[in-house]
């Protein structure tokens, strides 16, 4: 069963859209590609002012007490505007891990500052091709090893990590003040990805063993649903851009939208956007339910394919203009790819989903 947005939710959507459309320009985003660790700073300022950083955290810890649905609405708009610094998703993931698995002291230490946007969180699971890596060593409360391409890693103050203690998977939280950060030169530099090198870094164990693994998947799933909204927003924007271009650009005496090759391609993008949207909203509405992981995986798959395809096809519809730096459609190409990789690629989610379906059938 899906949901209808209530008035408050609709207000979040329209207000976040209004603010972002007023502040974000392609001209401001393009230079971010050519330097590392630069984000569109006004976005983060706005995010803090508007309380977006606090949306899905409990009131007891400085949050607004709303949920995935509302955070998804903001994320959708961040996706449309391409402004989204990665911290909105990453800080949420980190905060949720602390909220769900930390003790009261840890919550008091991190949740209020994360909710206020005063600290930035990261979820550092990935190691090379392992979406949930366990190569980081955890011994006597200390971490040793490297996490690769951690989204938001250049600025995060705290990270949730997976590690290994002997044969056991550990979920732990580590303050990053003394960790070495190696910023990555990426095709989407404002994601602030960095390799994090832990060298006897103190960390607090949250969980151990199979529950740690399950919790890691759950944290990724939460982030995947937020990201699915962001991807849907990006794809939606591309749909509108393609349609507008097809209506105004003329060739051979008519708008190019009158050519079926263009017209049908745009109709197919529409289908992908609506499928992505439906999957994302549905998953957000399933938070806390048994089928949440499956719904999140499905949303993730649909939104990833949708955004990639919309980017590819919107650029193609634009012809030469589509591949210029200035037009900025490549910002969407890049964002589509970075979002596709960040929360675990499609291989990962396909396998997660099929495993869930098998369990359900068994």
């Amino acid at each position: 069963m899906s949901i209808l947005y209530d008035e408050g939710q609709q207000a979040i959507a329209s207000e976040s859209r209004r603010i972002l459309e007023a502040h974000v320009t392609t001209e401001a985003l393009l230079p971010l590609l050519e330097t590392r660790d630069a984000i569109f700073e006004p976005f983060w300022t706005i995010a803090k002012e508007q309380g977006w950083t606090a949306v899905a955290l409990p009131e007891a810890y400085g949050g607004l007490g709303l949920g995935l649905v509302e955070l998804g609405l903001v994320s959708h708009q961040a996706g449309r505007s391409l402004s989204g610094a990665p911290f909105l998703t990453a800080s949420f993931g980190a905060a949720r891990a602390i909220l769900d698995h930390g003790d009261e002291a840890l919550k008091q230490r991190w949740l209020p500052v994360l909710a206020a946007g005063e600290a930035i969180g990261a979820v550092a699971f990935i190691e090379g091709q392992r979406v949930i890596g366990g190569g980081l060593a955890f011994e006597d409360g200390k971490l040793r090893g490297t996490k690769s391409a951690v989204t938001g890693g250049t600025r995060a103050g705290v990270a949730i990590v997976t590690a290994r203690d002997g044969d056991e998977m550990i979920l732990a939280v580590a303050e990053l003040a003394d960790v070495e950060r190696r910023p990555i030169e990426s095709f989407d530099n404002s994601r602030c990805a960095a390799d994090l090198v832990f060298a006897e870094t103190p960390a607090i164990e949250l969980l151990r063993g199979s529950v740690a693994e399950a919790a890691a998947v759950h944290i990724l799933a939460l982030q995947a649903v937020v990201t699915a909204h962001e991807q849907t927003g990006g794809a939606e924007k591309l749909l509108e851009t393609a349609r507008d271009y097809a209506l105004t650009r003329r060739a051979f005496g008519q708008p190019i939208g009158a050519f079926q090759s263009v017209k049908h391609r745009i109709a197919e993008i529409y289908a992908l956007v609506e499928l992505a949207r439906a999957g994302a909203v549905h998953a957000a509405s399933r938070a806390g339910q048994d089928d949440f992981i499956a719904a999140a995986a499905a949303a993730r798959i649909q939104a990833t394919d949708g955004y990639d395809t919309a980017a590819r096809d919107c650029v193609q519809i634009h012809g030469g203009i589509g591949v210029t730096w200035e037009a900025g459609l490549h910002l969407h190409m890049r964002r589509a790819r970075s979002l596709a990789v960040e929360q675990g690629n499609l291989f990962f989610w396909e396998d997660v989903l099929v495993d869930r379906l098998r369990e359900k059938a068994a």
Binding site: A258, K263, A271, V354
Partner: protein
């Protein structure tokens, strides 16, 4: 539990109670005639149980409920494989349209009752050999004949005409005006002299569609359901009448569970198929797509319950689901290896991959071909330009054939 959920549960309980007599298992091995007879009996029972004409006016024998209850019932009913196909067009479009456009209300009430109880069947005579996707391009003509009309021509793809008692028909009454403007809408008695029905066998071996020939078929002017020359609008109204129908994210083919079960049992080059990335990818991608279609449907239902108009994205279901069903069915044949060659043309399409595969192309064409659906999305939802249509505004008899 909402009222609708309660309604749905009662409906399911009733369906389960009659399934042993009318459901998929009971129908296995029946000839089409036997199955039709069973279908008439089922409709009689369904009417008695109060699940017929769910959203039709009480004055015509309906239940006076909303489309929500109708869609809820239909969704539940679909799972049981009841013998309802023969009546789906009849109750879907022609009968609602006579309720709306025929003036003789007593006569209409009798027709509606007999249609709801399965005694009479109506068909819809729209498509023609030269027509295809171009409804307004039809050639069957009616000329004035005394006080009435005389119909000559040929209709095609008429579902269940071979069992129909009546039909609604669009014909050309004026070939000298542009094609949309020369059409008029009538009902006809399918048993009248001059009407010949010839079943068309389809690729899968079944024959539920027909050619219907009209040879000097005479009808009174009281059969007319539109102004003379105003038939196109009523035809469009007919096609729009079923706004809210039970959708099926499986594209009216097998559920994904069945594919997963197949993959659990099968192997690829000596390893379990379910562990092969190619299979996992297809399961995951199809699940994601169907999950989204189901969410769209659920949201539309929720909106209807809230008295709101559902969004246009509901129109994606057929396009997306049937196209994918076709490829998934092919894949299922491959996956079965030698076993995939086994075939039963009459197996239930929702249970059997071979039957699903052979009939999928019909699904991609009937009720709006993929290309027409894409055009509709592009034009009606996104506001893109209409295709170039050289016949636009040209008198019908001057369009080159």
């Amino acid at each position: 539990m909402s009222d609708v959920e309660a309604y749905r549960e009662r409906a399911r309980a009733w369906l389960e109670s009659v399934a042993p007599r009318f459901g998929r298992a009971a129908r296995a091995g029946l000839s089409e005639e036997e199955d039709l007879a069973l279908g008439r009996a089922y409709l009689k029972g369904r009417f008695a149980a109060g699940y017929s004409g769910i959203n039709w006016p009480v004055e015509y024998g309906g239940q006076g409920l909303s489309p929500i209850e109708k869609v809820a019932f239909d969704s539940e009913e679909m799972a049981f494989g009841m013998p309802t196909a023969y009546f789906s067009i009849s109750l879907g479009m022609p009968v609602p349209i006579i309720m709306r456009f025929c003036e003789d209300k007593a006569w209409v009430r009798e027709r509606v009752h007999k249609a709801l109880t399965g005694e009479e069947i109506w068909c819809q005579l729209f498509s023609e050999p030269a027509g295809g996707s171009d409804l307004a391009g039809l050639r069957t003509r009616a000329e004035t004949d005394g006080n009435g009309w005389k119909i000559n021509g040929q209709k095609l793809w008429t579902s269940w005409a071979q069992y129909s008692d009546y039909g609604v028909i669009v014909v050309r009454t004026d070939p000298t005006v542009p094609k949309h403007k020369g059409l008029t809408y009538f009902w006809v008695d399918m048993k009248a002299p001059g009407v010949t029905v010839r079943p068309i066998k389809l690729a899968g071996g079944d024959s539920h569609v027909n050619e219907v020939f009209f040879d000097d078929v005479k009808i009174g002017d009281d059969h007319r359901m539109s102004p003379v020359g105003g038939g196109f609008a009523v035809a469009m109204a007919t096609l729009m009448i079923e706004r809210y129908v039970a959708t099926d994210s499986a594209g009216f083919g097998p559920r994904l569970d069945l594919f997963v079960a197949l993959a659990e049992a099968a192997e690829i080059n000596g390893r379990p198929a379910i562990e092969d990335g190619r299979i996992r990818q297809q399961i995951a991608r199809n699940y994601a797509m169907r999950n989204s279609l189901d969410a769209i449907t659920a949201r539309a239902m929720t909106m209807m319950q809230a008295g709101m108009e559902p969004g246009p994205e509901g129109s994606l279901n057929k396009l997306v689901s049937v196209r994918s069903r076709q490829k998934l069915s092919e894949l299922a044949i491959d996956l079965q290896g030698a076993t995939g060659l086994h075939f039963d043309a009459h197996a239930p399409v929702k249970q059997d991959w071979g039957a699903s595969w052979i009939n999928a192309p019909t699904g991609r064409i009937a009720g709006g071909a993929d290309e027409m659906l894409l055009n509709t999305i592009a034009e009606k939802i996104l506001g893109l330009p209409q295709d170039h249509r050289p016949d636009k505004g040209v008198p019908f008899n001057r369009i080159p054939a």
